[in-house]
Every structure is written in structure tokens, then in C-alpha cells.
């Protein structure tokens, strides 16, 4: 099981355990983490599972692929550290990952 921490805009943090192979979005949904809508259910078709990856994890998590970059055009307040959480696959390498939930999903 891999640990992922979600930090809300008000500073509230939640650490969840998730099986490898699931996505960070699924980890959020399975644990009722607020602020991640995932309207399209993880199909990379909506941009409402937008998260900011913590500075220390950006290299390990990597940059978005082309399709995800296209979808990020539809997100709000996109930053260098933005990723669509449905496109981040959980693995041992991401154990301890910290992501921040944006104030609003588009």
C-alpha cells in the first residue's frame, strides 16, 4: 500500500493508503477526499481532478503527457506543478506523495 497526502486550501491534510496501480484521483475518490470532482470518471476528458504536486515530488511524478496538457487547458489556475490526478499512477516510487487540492475545479 502506498501513502498519499492531500492538502486542502485551508491547510487541512488527509493521508490515505492506496493500492499500487490505481490513480491518485481514485485514491481521493475511494477516501472521500473533498475538492476532486473527476466528472469524467478518469477518462482524461474533463480537467476536474486537477491537483498541484508538492515541490519535492515533481520530478518523481513527472510532467503531463500531450493529451493531459491539452486537457489542462480547461483547468483553472494552472501552474508549473499542475497535474490531472487521474493520470498519475500510484506505485512504490510515489510512497509519501503530497498533492495540494486547488480552491476550485473549473
Amino acid at each position: 500500500m502506498t501513502k498519499i497526502t492531500f492538502i486542502q486550501p485551508d491547510g487541512e491534510s488527509q493521508t490515505v493508503d492506496v493500492e499500487n496501480g490505481l490513480t491518485v484521483m481514485e485514491a481521493a475518490k475511494l477516501n472521500d477526499v473533498p475538492g476532486i470532482e473527476a466528472e469524467c470518471g478518469g477518462a482524461c476528458a474533463c480537467a476536474t481532478c486537477h491537483v498541484y504536486v508538492d515541490e519535492g515530488w515533481r520530478e518523481k511524478v513527472g510532467k503531463p503527457a500531450e493529451m493531459e496538457e491539452d486537457m489542462l487547458d480547461f483547468a483553472f489556475d494552472v501552474r508549473e506543478e499542475s497535474r490531472l490526478s487521474c493520470q498519475i499512477k500510484v506505485s512504490d516510487a510515489l510512497d509519501g506523495l503530497i498533492v495540494r487540492v486547488p480552491a476550485k475545479q473549473f
Binding site: 469524467c40 476528458a45 489542462l72 473549473f106
Partner: protein, 353 residues
């Protein structure tokens, strides 16, 4: 339905289209409804806000494979749409695209009067709501106060190019809509700035090329950044604030066109007095009829105990709905249950005999 909708609406005109059934939504369930209704000699007109059939399948995942449509191990959203269009061809459905049913009321004779946002008027014996996740509407950027400018300075579509003549226009987006409107409005706008979060565009390459030429000629400006705030009063925009990699810039403007794609909203369905269950139309599982006799709901838009939002469910619901609709459209006829494999009359209707 509320008593206000029972009152006679505006008088019928010679333009009013009279038909058996209005299908609201041309997604997979609306399309298959045409087939099931057609087998029972019920003629349908189909209305959809998109400019083409397919609903969510065509709009959200045309290239993506669907694995759970019975008998089709893999089928893309677009393929499924194309196959359904093929399947319903024998029944010659009439489509009304880029329109949304706004008003629905019951006439004294029991039929339904429906009017779209483009003014198209219908009179039908039954209504089949196959609205899926709701009408596809342009996404509204979550900028504080943006609603105050909508329709006066903020527009999600342009009906008349002349509308933008002499204005300082800001277009936001990186896809075909943003680029097409940039090219269309550059000649009439007083000034035009295209704002996009990155210097990479999803739009068709030749549109991007033309845009870059206009930037080179200084006919328009390309600003890489994101809109963070609006400035103005009384519905009139005076400037937008753009966050760029070099800090924030105040960009004076009098019109803004944000193109951030589409999202699904329940829309006018919410106002028709139907019993809803968490924004879904409550139906029975024998007829998939709403709380209003003659108004049916199939596909993602309905709810009943055990409901699953699967395409295959919507197909089943269409079949049962058609039987119930037949009793309303042809009250004096008995439904003779027939199989397409053995009934020569069905096969004739399908044009295969």
C-alpha cells in the same frame, strides 16, 4: 405539471411541427429510441444542443474504446454513434441540431407543446427525454462576478460577427473555437488579444499558422497567461487581469470570449414540474414514464431503484418506453409483439425485405 403550463401557450402557427414523438437528446439512447419507436410506427423528431449526433459519446470520447456494449467487444464512441445512425436510417428521423428544448407544456387536447431556444415549435403526443448528463453548455470560468457580464460583455458564442465591430476583444482559449473566432473577428474588432495559458495550441495547424501571421503583422496580439480577474461596472467590462510569467498585466477590453469547452447542465428539464431524484427524472420500470403521463425518460437522465448509467440500460429502457408510448400514440391499436427475425412487416419497415 404546474397550472401555468396548462394555460394555452402562444398560438400555434403554420410553422409548428406536428409529430408523434419528440426525442430530447441525440446521444446513443435518444438514437436507439428512434429505432424502437419506429418499429411501432411512431414518427420521431430529435432535438440536440450539439451540432451533431452522439451526445457524450461523440463529444467526450469519440476515439475512446467502450468495452461494455453487448455484442461489441470494442467500439469507439464515434463508431457507436455511426452504427446507431445507420440502424435508425430506415425510420428517417428528423434532426434539429444546435437547439435546446426550453419550454414544454401540455395542451388542452393532451398533446405536448415544445419550443426550442431557436424558436422551433413542436406539437407531439409523447416526449422522450434522453438528455443524458444534461445539455452541453459552455464552461464558465470561475472568475468572481463573471455572471454580471454575461450577455453584455462576456460571450460564449457569437451569433453575429457585426456584434464585435469596434470592440476591444479578448479571446481566451487554445482550441478550434478560440482560433476560429480570432480569425473571424480580427477584421472587425478595434483590437483583439488572444490569451492562452501556453504557447501551444490544440487547434487545427493551419488556423494556428494564420493566427501567428496576424500576430507577426501586429493585427492581433498573443498573450501567454491566464485570466485571474475582471474589471468593469454595470455589466460593461473595462479590463481583464492576466497572470503571466512576468507578473500580472491589466488588459483593457470591452468584450471577452472564453472558450473552455463544454460541460453538462440539467437545464430547462428542471423547470418542467417533473418529479426529480437528485436532478434525475424519476421513472417507473415498466414504462420508464415520468410523473407526467406521456413524458418518458431514458438513459443517464432517469432514475429508478437499481439504476445503472450504462448505455445498455438505456437501450433496454427505450424498448419498454416505446411499448408504453404506443398506447398513447395509437390508443385504439393493440401492440402486436413481433420479432425482427421473423416478422415480414417489421422487415419491410426496416427495408430489408
Amino acid at each position: 405539471m404546474t397550472s401555468t403550463t396548462l394555460a394555452p401557450a402562444a398560438p400555434l402557427t403554420s410553422e409548428t411541427i406536428e409529430t408523434d414523438a419528440i426525442v430530447i437528446g441525440a446521444g446513443p439512447c435518444g438514437l436507439f429510441a428512434v429505432f424502437e419507436l419506429g418499429l411501432l410506427d411512431i414518427k420521431a423528431h430529435v432535438v440536440d444542443i450539439l451540432d451533431r449526433p452522439g451526445g457524450q459519446c461523440a463529444e467526450l470520447y469519440p476515439e475512446k474504446p467502450i468495452y461494455d456494449v453487448p455484442a461489441l467487444p470494442i467500439v469507439t464512441g464515434q463508431e457507436l454513434t455511426d452504427r446507431l445512425m445507420e440502424q435508425i436510417k430506415p425510420f428517417n428521423p428528423q434532426f434539429h441540431f444546435s437547439e435546446r428544448i426550453d419550454a414544454l407544456s401540455r395542451q388542452p387536447d393532451g398533446r405536448f407543446r415544445l419550443t426550442t431556444d431557436a424558436g422551433t415549435d413542436f406539437l407531439a403526443k409523447v416526449v422522450v427525454v434522453a438528455a443524458g448528463g444534461g445539455s452541453f453548455t459552455p464552461k464558465r470560468p470561475p472568475l468572481p462576478g463573471i455572471e454580471n457580464y454575461e450577455g453584455t460583455s462576456v460571450f460564449y458564442s457569437v451569433r453575429k460577427i457585426e456584434q464585435m465591430r469596434g470592440k476591444d476583444v479578448v479571446i481566451v482559449g487554445g482550441g478550434d473555437s478560440a482560433l476560429d473566432w480570432t480569425l473571424n473577428l480580427a477584421p472587425v474588432a478595434k483590437s483583439l488579444t488572444l490569451v492562452h495559458r501556453r504557447d501551444d495550441f490544440r487547434a487545427a495547424p493551419h488556423s494556428v499558422e494564420k493566427m501567428r501571421k496576424l500576430v507577426e503583422e501586429a493585427s492581433i496580439r498573443l498573450l501567454i497567461g491566464q485570466v485571474v480577474a475582471l474589471e468593469g461596472a454595470n455589466g460593461e467590462l473595462s479590463a481583464v487581469e492576466i497572470k503571466t510569467s512576468n507578473g500580472n498585466e491589466r488588459l483593457p477590453c470591452t468584450a471577452m470570449l472564453p472558450f473552455f469547452g463544454l460541460t453538462m447542465k440539467l437545464g430547462p428539464v428542471a423547470d418542467w414540474g417533473l418529479n426529480l431524484h437528485e436532478n434525475l427524472i424519476n421513472v417507473d420500470t415498466e414504462r420508464f414514464e415520468s410523473s407526467e403521463k406521456g413524458i418518458f425518460a431514458i438513459g443517464d437522465i432517469n432514475w429508478y431503484p437499481g439504476k445503472l448509467k450504462l448505455i445498455l440500460s438505456g437501450f433496454h429502457e427505450a424498448a419498454l418506453m416505446a411499448q408504453a408510448a404506443h398506447r398513447i400514440v395509437y390508443p385504439d391499436k393493440k401492440v402486436l409483439f413481433q420479432y425482427t427475425t421473423s416478422s415480414s412487416s417489421l422487415q419491410k419497415k426496416l427495408g430489408v425485405k
